[in-house]
Symmetry: C2
Subunit: 308 residues, 2 copies
DNA sequence: CCATATCGTCAACGGATCATTGACAAATGG
DNA sequence: CCATTTGTCAATGATCCGTTGACGATATGG
C-alpha cells in the first residue's frame, strides 16, 4: 500500500498538467514528483501517464485511478473534519420536509452522507405534497417549490425550476410533434390530478404572449411518478419539471416539444429552503443547509451536463 | 497526513479488540501497533482509545474515525480492483428492471456505486410494476417478486419477502387494535388497486388455518407509495412488504397488528434476479449480480437491525 | 545552426521514518 | 504469590524518501 502522499501528488499532476508544474505547486522537486508517480505505477502494475517531454496524458487506467483518488482524498478530508469538529457537531433529529418525488430524488440521497459525516445526527424526511407548517409539524427545514416564499419563515432560494413538455420519440412518431400550442388539443396530455385543477395548459412564447390550451388524457394521476411512467410508456405528453426529466432527455428517451414556448406552472418557479429564524442557530440545520447549498448552487445537479 | 497503514492497523485493532491481538493478526509486533495508533492519535490531536491493561474501548472520536476509516479503506480497495481489472471490466449498458417502489428504494442506490466502480458501464433502471419480457424488452436482469420463477430464464433467489399489516399508533389509538382477523372488517384497510383484484385479505395463523376477510377503505391507490402515505397519515391499515416498512417500524411510527397471522400475498414470497442464460456471460451482468448478492444475501438489508 | 530553457528520469547520498528488541508497569487469574 | 497478558518506552538498525546533479529529449528564439 503506497503512501497516500503519492495519491495527492498524482491528483496535483493531473490538475496542473505536468509533473514540473505540480512540483512547483507542492513546493518540492520534480524528481520527487516523478519518483512518487513512478512508484505508484509500480505498486499498481500499470502506467497512469503517457509521457512525452512536453505533454503528459492520462492512460485509461490513469483516468480510473484519478476518479477514485479524488474520492478517497475527499473521504480523508471529511474524516479529519469529522474528528476535529466532533465537539460542536450537529446532533439530534433533523426534520426535513419535501415533496414526494423531489424529496425521494434529491433529498433522500443526501441523508446517508450527512448522517455519516455527523454520526450523532438523525434525519427524518417527511415527504408530502401538502404544504407543511414549520412550527406545528416541527419541521426544521422544508424544501418548497413555490411562487413566493412564506412570510413567517426565512426562505433561501436554492435553485430555479424549469418545466418542459415532454413525450417519447415513439409517441411523437405515432401522433406527430406539436408545432404550435393549439396542436396539443389533438394529443393525450397528462395533467396532474389536483382536486379542482383546471385542465388547461398555459404557455408563453418568446415575446411573452400567453396561450391557454384545453388539454385532456384518457386517464390521470395525482402522482408525478405515474405521469412520468405514462409518458415513458408513450401514452402521451406532460408538463414536467426538468429535475425529473433531464436525465431521460439526455438519453433521448424523452423529448421536449414546443421548445419556443414556456409552460406556466401552478407550482412555482424556484426551489426554496424554508426554516424559522430560531432554527438556523441549530448546528444540524446549518449543516443541512450547507449540504443543500453545495448540492444545488450555483447550478442544481439535474441541470449539469454530467447528471445521470 | 499519516501513512495509511496506520488506518488499517486501527481498523484491525477495533476488530480484534486489542492491540496485541491485532499485532498477531497482522503478523507484527505489539510495539509497532502501539506506535502507529499513538502516532495516528497525535496526528489528529485526539485519543481514539481509552486504555486499560485488559480492555481497549473506543472514544467518541474513535467511533467517528472508525466509520470513516472503513469507508476510506474500502475506497482504496475498490480503486485497486478497478485499476487492475480495467481490461475485462464491465462495460456497455446494463438494463435492469424492477418494480417502482422496490427499484427506487433498493436498486437505484446501488447504481452510483456500480458505475463508479466500472466507469465504462452505464445502467438503465426500468421501473415498472408490469411484468417485463427479458428478451423483447432487452432487459439484462430483472428483479422480480413472484411465486414461481419463470421457465424461460434463470432465476436466482435473492431474498425472502415478508409482509405485515401495519398502521400508525395514532390510527390504532383512535380505532383500536384488531385482535382477530375478523376485526379488520371494522377498519379502513388499503388494498392495492389492481384491475380485477379482489378486496379480500387472506391470512394464515400459526397452525396454518386460513382466513379470508373482506376489507375496504374510503379511497384506494395503485401506488404502494400512496398506500404507505395514507397509512402514515393514519387513514388506515395496509398489508405492506417489510422492505417498505421496517425502517418506520423500528422508529415506532408504524406498528404491526395481528402478529400471530401471516398475510398471504398475490405478489410472491421471494425476490429473484432473473436473466436469460446467454446474458450471464456478460461481465456487466455478472458484476451486477455480484452486487445484488452482496446487498441482499444472506440477510437483505431491510431485515438487518441497523437498517435505516 | 546554436544557445537556452523546460521537461521527466536516474543514481548516489544523507536524513527521516519505521520496525524491532528488551525491559517495565499494570492488570488478571489460578 | 506467581505466571501470563497487555500497552508503552527508548535505543538501535533497517528501510524509505527527498535532494542533488547530471542526462537526454524537446521546443523556442536569435
Amino acid at each position: 500500500m503506497a503512501w497516500l502522499g503519492s495519491w495527492e501528488t498524482f491528483v496535483r499532476v493531473v490538475e496542473c498538467g505536468s509533473m514540473a508544474a505540480a512540483a512547483r505547486r507542492l513546493d518540492c522537486t520534480r524528481a520527487q514528483v516523478s519518483k512518487q508517480i513512478g512508484e505508484l505505477e509500480r505498486a499498481f502494475g500499470v502506467r497512469f501517464f503517457e509521457r512525452s517531454t512536453r505533454k503528459l496524458s492520462l492512460t485509461p487506467s490513469g483516468e480510473i485511478f484519478h476518479q477514485h483518488a479524488l474520492r478517497t482524498l475527499e473521504n480523508i478530508q471529511s474524516t479529519e473534519f469529522a474528528v476535529r469538529n466532533q465537539g460542536d457537531s450537529p446532533r439530534g433529529v433533523l426534520r426535513i420536509s419535501a415533496s414526494l418525488t423531489f424529496g425521494r430524488m434529491f433529498i433522500a440521497p443526501l441523508l446517508p452522507r450527512l448522517v455519516a459525516r455527523y454520526p450523532e445526527l438523525r434525519c427524518e424526511l417527511i415527504l408530502t405534497d401538502q404544504v407543511v407548517d414549520l412550527v406545528e409539524d416541527n419541521i426544521d427545514l422544508a424544501l418548497r417549490m413555490t411562487k413566493v416564499p412564506p412570510d413567517d419563515a426565512v426562505a433561501k432560494r436554492l435553485a430555479p425550476l424549469q418545466r418542459v413538455i415532454v413525450g417519447t420519440p415513439a409517441y411523437l412518431a405515432t401522433h406527430g410533434t406539436p408545432r404550435v400550442p393549439q396542436d396539443l388539443v389533438h394529443h393525450s396530455c397528462f395533467n396532474y390530478l389536483l382536486g379542482g385543477s383546471d385542465a388547461n395548459w398555459r404557455l408563453t412564447d418568446r415575446q411573452g404572449k400567453e396561450f391557454t390550451i384545453p388539454v385532456s388524457s384518457a386517464f390521470q394521476f395525482n402522482s408525478v411518478d405515474c405521469i412520468l411512467d405514462a409518458v415513458r410508456a408513450s401514452h402521451g405528453l406532460a408538463v414536467l419539471p426538468t429535475y425529473l426529466v433531464n436525465a431521460e432527455r439526455a438519453q433521448g428517451s424523452l423529448k421536449t416539444v414546443l421548445d419556443d414556448y414556456d409552460p406556466i406552472s401552478n407550482f412555482g418557479r424556484h426551489l426554496y429552503a424554508c426554516y424559522t429564524p430560531s432554527r438556523i442557530r441549530a448546528p444540524k440545520v446549518r449543516a443541512f443547509l450547507a449540504e443543500l447549498e453545495s448540492e444545488f448552487e450555483p447550478v442544481p445537479l439535474w441541470e449539469r451536463s454530467g447528471a445521470d
